[in-house]
């Protein structure tokens, strides 16, 4: 898979928040075999607490994808992206412009506007969006080269609320990388997303809040690979009635 011209072999993008400890996070990154991990920016304390996390990121060898999580306006998101570009030394940005605090659903109008500003400024924007086709088109017009539709609200672990809409996105944007971002709870949800033809899955809470995050990270990676291969392998169509799988020709007459 290519994202903004970069070859990426792992189709699991992993978030770094909410783990029980830095050691568990480190282990989960390893077992997930993720190549891209998401990060954020928050107020620094005078003791330099952010520096330790920065060292952990560098040790992981992963590409970092900073987010604009928590931003509710275009201005906030754009300034946060500018700060992230300097801080993390990358022009990749996971663009979130949140429209509602309860559902954490994207403000798609602000999202398109912020994407236009950031793409024009040289950013490679990963927009966290809904599964709306028209919004997707506007984001591509703004300069985005991929789309990250939600599966369900952030952190809800509900799985795919609207698989038909994701299937429609796949059909409508056959050549655009589609990454399901948010809502995955179980490995089967991730497989489901990949079987719909998504290119990758971004998840965080499902791994971080599992009883054994490192094992769940591995399970998610396996589930994503299985779903991806299943989609490529072109599954059979379901049938209404049974059809014998064992040949009936040559059956003995025993009565």
């Amino acid at each position: 898979m290519q994202l903004y011209g970069t070859d990426i072999s792992s189709r699991l993008l992993l978030g770094t928040a909410q783990y029980p400890s830095p050691a568990v996070l480190r282990k989960a990154i390893e077992t997930s075999r993720a190549e891209i991990i998401t990060v954020s920016l928050r107020r620094e304390t005078a003791d330099g607490s952010g520096a330790g996390f920065w060292e952990l990121l560098k040790d992981s060898g992963c590409k970092v994808l900073p987010n604009t999580a928590g931003c509710h306006s275009v201005q906030e998101a754009v300034v946060t992206a500018q700060m992230a570009r300097e801080l993390f030394g990358t022009d990749w940005i996971k663009l979130e412009v949140i429209g509602n605090s309860d559902t954490l659903q994207p403000d798609v109008f602000g999202l398109v506007e912020a994407a236009r500003v950031l793409c024009a400024d040289g950013f490679k924007v990963f927009p966290y969006t809904t599964d709306d086709l028209v919004v997707g088109e506007k984001l591509l017009e703004a300069g985005c080269e991929l789309l990250m539709p939600w599966g369900a609200p952030i952190g809800s672990g509900q799985g795919l609320r609207n698989p038909d809409a994701l299937r429609a996105m796949r059909a409508h944007f056959p050549d655009v990388p589609l990454i399901v971002d948010a809502g995955i709870g179980r490995p089967s949800d991730a497989t489901h997303a990949m079987e719909l033809g998504m290119d990758a899955v971004l998840l965080n809470t499902a791994v971080a809040k599992a009883g054994d995050p490192a094992l769940m990270a591995k399970a998610m990676a396996q589930a994503i690979e299985a779903g991806c291969n299943g989609y490529i392998a072109d599954p059979m169509d379901p049938r209404d009635m049974a059809v014998p799988s064992t040949p009936t020709l040559g059956m003995a007459e025993l009565i």
Partner: protein, 65 residues
């Protein structure tokens, strides 16, 4: 002069952003700043002057989803 640093009132004597950050003990290289809602690139710290009541945000890498 009094400025607001990460939402808290602070007293600084240095007038440039570069010196004020040192005075405020933000010595980590892993920070990025915004002054009154606008990003200030690192190379502009030494020529950026602070004024009474300025709002300074100093951000660092943090875990995120």
């Amino acid at each position: 002069m009094k400025i607001i640093v990460n939402a808290k009132p602070r007293e600084v004597t240095n007038e440039t952003l570069e010196d004020a950050l040192m005075e405020l003990e933000f010595t980590s290289p892993a920070i990025a700043t915004a002054l009154n809602g606008s990003f200030v690139p690192r190379e502009e710290y030494s020529e950026t002057s602070l004024s009474e009541g300025d709002r300074l945000e100093v951000l660092a890498p943090m875990q995120g989803g």
